[in-house]
Amino acid sequence: MSLLKVTNLTKSFGGVSAIRDLSFTIEAGTIHSIIGPNGAGKTTLFNLITGVYTPSSGSVRFDDREIGGVEPHKLAALGMNRTFQNLQIFHNMSAVENVMVGAHLHVQKGLAHSLLRLPSLVRSEVETRKHCWELMDFVGLGQYRDAEASAMSYGALKRLEIARALAAKPKLLLLDEPAAGLNDTETREVDEVIKRIAGQGVTVVLVEHDMKMVMGISDHILVLDYGAKLAEGTPAEIRSNPDVIAAYLGNVG
C-alpha cells in the first residue's frame, strides 16, 4: 500500500489552475522528488498535501485516509510534516525553541502543569531541549545551540526548519527546496542529512532545483509542468525522457 495517493487533484486560483488533474503515488520508505520549472505548481502541491490549501477537486489519501481539506495540525498528528521554500521561522524565539515547537505533539503541555511549572513539566522540558539540541547537531547546526533565530543566516534557517520538522517525528517529510540559497558545502551537507533521514525509515518528498542532488538521491521523480504531470520514473528514465529534456532540463543546461 502506498503512503500517499493523489488522484485527479486540481487547484485553481480564480481562473488559473495551478495544479491540474494530477495523479501519482508515493511508496513508503522512498525519496521521491518533484521537479519542474518555476511556477509549475510544486509548492502549491505541497500546500494541498499538507492542508494549507483545500483542493478544488480530486483526492489526497495519506495512510489510506482521505485528507483533502483536513487542517494542517491534524495532519501533523497523523505523521506528516514539511519545510517551506520561503521559510516559516519563528523569528521571535531562539533556535532551539523553534525546534522545540516542532516537538509540541509529543511533550507534556497540560495547562495546570504549565502555569504551576510542575516537576513533570520541568522534566519534559529538559528532555525536549536536549533532544532538540541533538536534532540541531544532526542537521549540522551544532554551533547555533544558544543562538536566536533572528541572528541566523538563510542557509542555517533552512536546516533549522528540517530539525523542527523532525522533532515532530514524521512518517512523511516534505522538503521544499532545502538547498536553495546554500553554497556547495552546505548543499552536500543537506544531501547527507536527507539520506540519513530516509535511512531512518522516513519517507521523503523533495522539491529541489539542484539537479545533481535530485538525480543523486531520488528513488523516484515526478516532473510537473504547468500544474500537470509531464513525466514520472527513476532518475535514469527522467534523464533520458525527451519531453523532460525539451521542457525543463534543456533550459537549465
Binding site: 499538507t50 492542508g51 494549507v52 487542517e71 494542517p72 495540525h73 495532519l75 501533523a76 498528528a77 510534516n81 514539511r82 517551506f84 521559510l87 516559516q88 521561522i89 519563528f90 523569528h91 521571535n92 524565539m93 525553541e97 522545540m100 515547537v101 516542532g102 509540541h104 505533539l105 511533550v107 507534556q108 503541555k109 495547562l111 502543569h113 504549565s114 502555569l115 504551576l116 511549572r117 513539566l121 522540558e125 526548519e161 523542527r164 520538522a165 522533532a167 515532530a168
Partner: protein, 314 residues
C-alpha cells in the same frame, strides 16, 4: 533554588519593590493609589498574554474586570456568598463568556476579536446600567468586606499586601506559562502562523485559551477591586477603561510581563502625580504616549532591557 532565581529575576525585583515601597508611603491615599495600580497591573499582565503573545487585541477587558467586580458585589451582598466563592463564580462565568465569544471569532483571520469585544463591553455596560434593581444602576453598589479564612481585610495596609501578593502570583503564573509548551505555541503562532500549524499546533485552540485566561485575570482583579472600593459603578467598565488597559500593555512593552506591570503602574500613578496641572493632563498623557510609540515602539521595558544588554556587551 539558584535556577529559580535565574528564571525569575523580574519577579524578585518586583517582590523587592513591593516590600520596600511602604517605606516611602505616607498615608492611606498613597496606599489606595498603589492598590489600584496593582489591580490594573494584574489585568494588564493577563491582557498582554493575549496582545503580546497571541497578537490579538481585546477592547473589552474592562467589561471582564467589571463583571468580576459586579459578581463579587452582588453575590456577597444580595446573596450573602463567601468572598472567595463569589470571586470564583465571577471568574468561571467570565471564562465561559470569553470562550463562547472567542471560539467562533478566532477561527477567522484578522482582528474581528477587537470588534466583538468592543460590542460585548457596550452590551454589558448597558445591562448593568439598566438592571438597576440588581446592580444599583448608575449609582452602583458595594460589596461585603473581603474575608478569607476568618481574616477580614480592612486597613489599606492589609489590602496593599494582599494585592502585592496577588500581583506576584499573576506574574509568576504568566512567566511560567510563557516559558512552557503552551507559551511557545503562542509565540510560534504570532511569529509564523502557517509554520505553527504544520508542526501540529491548533492555533485557534491556543488563541481561544489565552483569551479566556486573560479574561479570567481581569475578572479576578475586578473582584478584588469590588471589595476594596467603596462603590462599584458602571463607569469602571467603560470603553475608555478598556483602551487604557491596552495602552498600558503597549506602553510598558508588548510580550513583556514586567513591561505590563511597569506600564500599568506608571499610567495609574501619572494622573495622580500630574494632578497639579490637571487641565493639561490629557495633553501630557497623549504626548507621552505618542513619544513612546515613535521612539520605542517595543515599549518601555523591552527598550530599556535592550539598552542595558548592549552596554554589557563589549
Amino acid at each position: 533554588m539558584s535556577a529559580f532565581l535565574q528564571r525569575h529575576r523580574g519577579l524578585l525585583i518586583l517582590a523587592a519593590c513591593i516590600v520596600l515601597l511602604p517605606l516611602a508611603v505616607q498615608n492611606d491615599y498613597h496606599y489606595d493609589v498603589l492598590i489600584n495600580a496593582g489591580l490594573n497591573a494584574i489585568v494588564v499582565v493577563g491582557l498582554n498574554l493575549l496582545i503580546g503573545y497571541a497578537g490579538q487585541i481585546s477592547l473589552g477587558h474592562a467589561a471582564f474586570f467589571g463583571l468580576g467586580a459586579y459578581a463579587s458585589a452582588i453575590l456577597t451582598t444580595t446573596y450573602g456568598w463567601h468572598s472567595l466563592a463569589a470571586m470564583g463564580a465571577g471568574m468561571a462565568g467570565v471564562g465561559v463568556l470569553a470562550y463562547v465569544v472567542a471560539r467562533p471569532i478566532l477561527r477567522l483571520k484578522g482582528h474581528y476579536l477587537a470588534m466583538a469585544t468592543l460590542g460585548i463591553g457596550i452590551i454589558i455596560s448597558i445591562v448593568l446600567n439598566t438592571e438597576a434593581h440588581i446592580t444599583g444602576g448608575p449609582d452602583g453598589m458595594s460589596a461585603a468586606p473581603f474575608s478569607v479564612f476568618g481574616y477580614t481585610f480592612q486597613s489599606e495596609k492589609s489590602w496593599y499586601w494582599l494585592v502585592g501578593g496577588c500581583l506576584l502570583a499573576a506574574v509568576w503564573l504568566s512567566s511560567n506559562l510563557i516559558d512552557s509548551p503552551i507559551g511557545r505555541a503562542l509565540r510560534a503562532l504570532h511569529g509564523a502562523e502557517v509554520g505553527a500549524r504544520v508542526v501540529g499546533i491548533d492555533t485557534t485552540h491556543y488563541k481561544v485559551l489565552i483569551f479566556v485566561i486573560s479574561a479570567i485575570f481581569a475578572s479576578f482583579a475586578g473582584s478584588l477591586f469590588a471589595h476594596h472600593t467603596p462603590t462599584v459603578t458602571p463607569s469602571i467598565l467603560g470603553f475608555i477603561k478598556s483602551v487604557e488597559f491596552v495602552v498600558m500593555a503597549v506602553f510598558g512593552g508588548m510580550a513583556s510581563v514586567m513591561g505590563s506591570v511597569v506600564g500599568a503602574v506608571i499610567m495609574t500613578l501619572l494622573p495622580n502625580l500630574l494632578a497639579s496641572i490637571e487641565d493639561y493632563e490629557p495633553i501630557i498623557l497623549g504626548a507621552i504616549m505618542m513619544g513612546t510609540m515613535i521612539f520605542m515602539p517595543k515599549g518601555l521595558v523591552p527598550t530599556i532591557a535592550k539598552m542595558l544588554r548592549r552596554k554589557e556587551a563589549p
